[in-house]
């Protein structure tokens, strides 16, 4: 793997009722290495999660899929952005 492509962990929370997707994402983040990306497949845009990510120094990107679901990638903000 090249130095510019961080290692990625995958998590599928589609089909789960709220707030289980958010709980599982936060649990996964707690064990994620600082330089890794968490790639999440989710049914709906997780608006409540954004404030929590912001408060805990994570950044995120969301991409809609054709089937109505979303790909959400989450990564710890570099120290320079804190």
């Amino acid at each position: 793997m090249s130095a510019s492509t961080p290692a990625t962990a995958f998590l599928d929370v589609s089909g789960l009722p709220p707030p289980e997707p958010m709980e599982q994402i936060l649990e996964a983040l707690a064990t994620l290495a600082p330089d890794m990306v968490l790639q999440v497949l989710i049914d709906r845009e997780p608006f409540p999660l954004y404030r929590v990510l912001e408060r805990h120094a994570y950044r995120h990107q969301l991409a809609p899929r054709d089937d109505g679901r979303f790909d959400l990638s989450i990564q710890r903000r570099p120290c320079s952005e804190h």
């Binding site: 009722p17 709220p18 707030p19 709980e23 936060l26 707690a30 049914d43 709906r44 845009e45 608006f47 409540p48 999660l49 954004y50 404030r51 929590v52 408060r55 805990h56 109505g68």
Partner: protein, 421 residues
């Protein structure tokens, strides 16, 4: 179609929580009244203690929780915030809690006319503040996906305004100002309060939350968009027919309302029946609520004596439909609010925040549901045999509410303990 929630605009926990946590205390007060007065509370819908209990439950519990939930759900679902949420919440909470206590005391204890004027003023103030604040919020741009919810809330708010206007007029008559056909206007007031406000608002919210939390498909567009408007038109027709004394039209409108609500109940229960997932406790509360609404529709058209039919229908709609749905939602909303606001607190390590399901364990909610079912069964039975069953019904109602207060209070204590540590 999937629902989306915008939690980014969530208000402070202290905006909805006081409404959600104080509401059960009014049921506790109603249950105490029932235990104290016994048969007198359920022998007729016109006894002072019945009127006091009815308002403790409808205003103190159902309206209180609905208003609290609106502060939460409008910004979250429609992406439209209630402006000045904290002062609006304080003002409406004070008016609603104080006005309900004064009105229930005036009705139950036969206090002097001044108390009716005081109650009407306090409740009128709270109602106006809520109507203006919610009206302003839903007049702004909102998320397109929230259109059915906003339309439902708008019509339910109109139902609340009609209920308040009629209730205020009746309070003035009780205070010795002016005259009215009190029996007729009470019927119209009760119909708007129960169906036009409580059932309409609960249904509008359920169109959003049942697919989301219970994992059912979205409601048919025709039902979630058409039901609130059609309900409103039928209720206007029913009221006009009642006031102008056109019994044929009144019965037709009543059948229309019954058919509409029966369609809503049947759709929801069919969703639950077809669902592959095992029924959780929230589904049990909703199923009970729907069964009670179906029974209320049935009782409305059965050949009971008029007063007894009204009493049974009232128990089924208030304690059966409204309280079951609200109890279930409280067990969802309050633990989530606590968990979410703890997660947002960057000072707390995430490992110190308990899982949302362990804030109030499902076994506790199941225990509350069981006691609530027993209380509800006794309440219904005591409408038919009040001399024997009224006091036991009050006792079980009190126990069910004690469990709810203990469980929600436990969630609040956990929140405060973790925030202060």
């Amino acid at each position: 179609m999937q629902r989306t929630l915008n939690y980014g605009a969530m208000p402070s926990i202290w905006v909805p929580l006081p409404f959600l946590l104080t509401a059960p205390c009014f049921v506790f007060a109603a249950a105490l009244l029932l235990m104290w007065q016994g048969e007198a509370a359920l022998v007729s819908r016109w006894t002072p203690v019945t009127l006091a209990m009815t308002h403790l439950l409808t205003l103190g519990f159902l309206t209180m929780t609905i208003v609290g939930a609106l502060f939460q759900i409008l910004p979250v679902v429609a992406g439209t915030a209630i402006a000045l949420a904290r002062p609006v919440a304080v003002l409406s909470w004070c008016g609603l809690a104080g006005g309900t206590a004064v009105l229930a005391s005036a009705l139950g204890l036969g206090l002097s006319p001044g108390f009716y004027v005081t109650a009407a003023s306090m409740l009128g103030l709270a109602g106006l503040v809520v109507l203006m604040a919610v009206g302003a919020a839903i007049s702004h741009r909102y998320a397109p996906a929230a259109q059915p919810l906003v339309a439902g809330v708008r019509l339910a708010m109109s139902g609340l305004a009609v209920t308040m206007g009629l209730g205020g007029a009746l309070a003035m008559v009780l205070a010795g100002h002016g005259t009215l056909d009190v029996l007729l206007f009470t019927d119209v007031h009760a119909f708007w309060g129960l169906v036009g406000w409580i059932v309409a608002l609960t249904a509008a919210v359920s169109f959003q939350v049942i697919p989301m939390f219970q994992g059912t498909p979205a409601y048919p567009r025709a039902l979630e968009q058409g039901m609130p408007a059609l309900l409103f038109v039928l209720m206007l027709a029913w009221s006009a027919a009642a006031l102008l004394k056109v019994p044929g039209l009144q019965l037709a409108a009543e059948i229309g309302v019954g058919a509409l609500l029966a369609t809503y109940v049947a759709t929801t229960l069919l969703f639950f029946h077809r669902r592959k997932r095992k029924a959780d406790i929230g589904t049990c509360y909703w199923s009970l609520a729907m069964a009670c609404l179906a029974l209320a529709i049935l009782v409305r058209f059965l050949p009971f004596e008029r007063d007894q039919r009204a009493l049974l229908t009232g128990v089924l709609v208030i304690a059966g439909f409204g309280m079951s749905a609200v109890n279930g939602m409280l067990y969802k909303i309050v633990p989530f609010l606590v968990w979410y606001h703890l997660q947002c607190d960057a000072r707390l390590g995430r490992e110190r925040v308990p899982g949302v399901k362990s804030i109030v364990e499902e076994a506790r909610a199941l225990r509350q549901l069981r006691w609530h079912v027993v209380a509800l069964g006794l309440l219904l039975a005591s409408s038919l045999a009040p001399s024997v069953l009224a006091r036991p019904a009050g006792l079980f109602m009190m126990l069910a509410m004690f469990l709810l207060i203990r469980d929600l209070g436990g969630a609040l204590r956990l929140f405060l303990r973790l925030r202060q540590s």
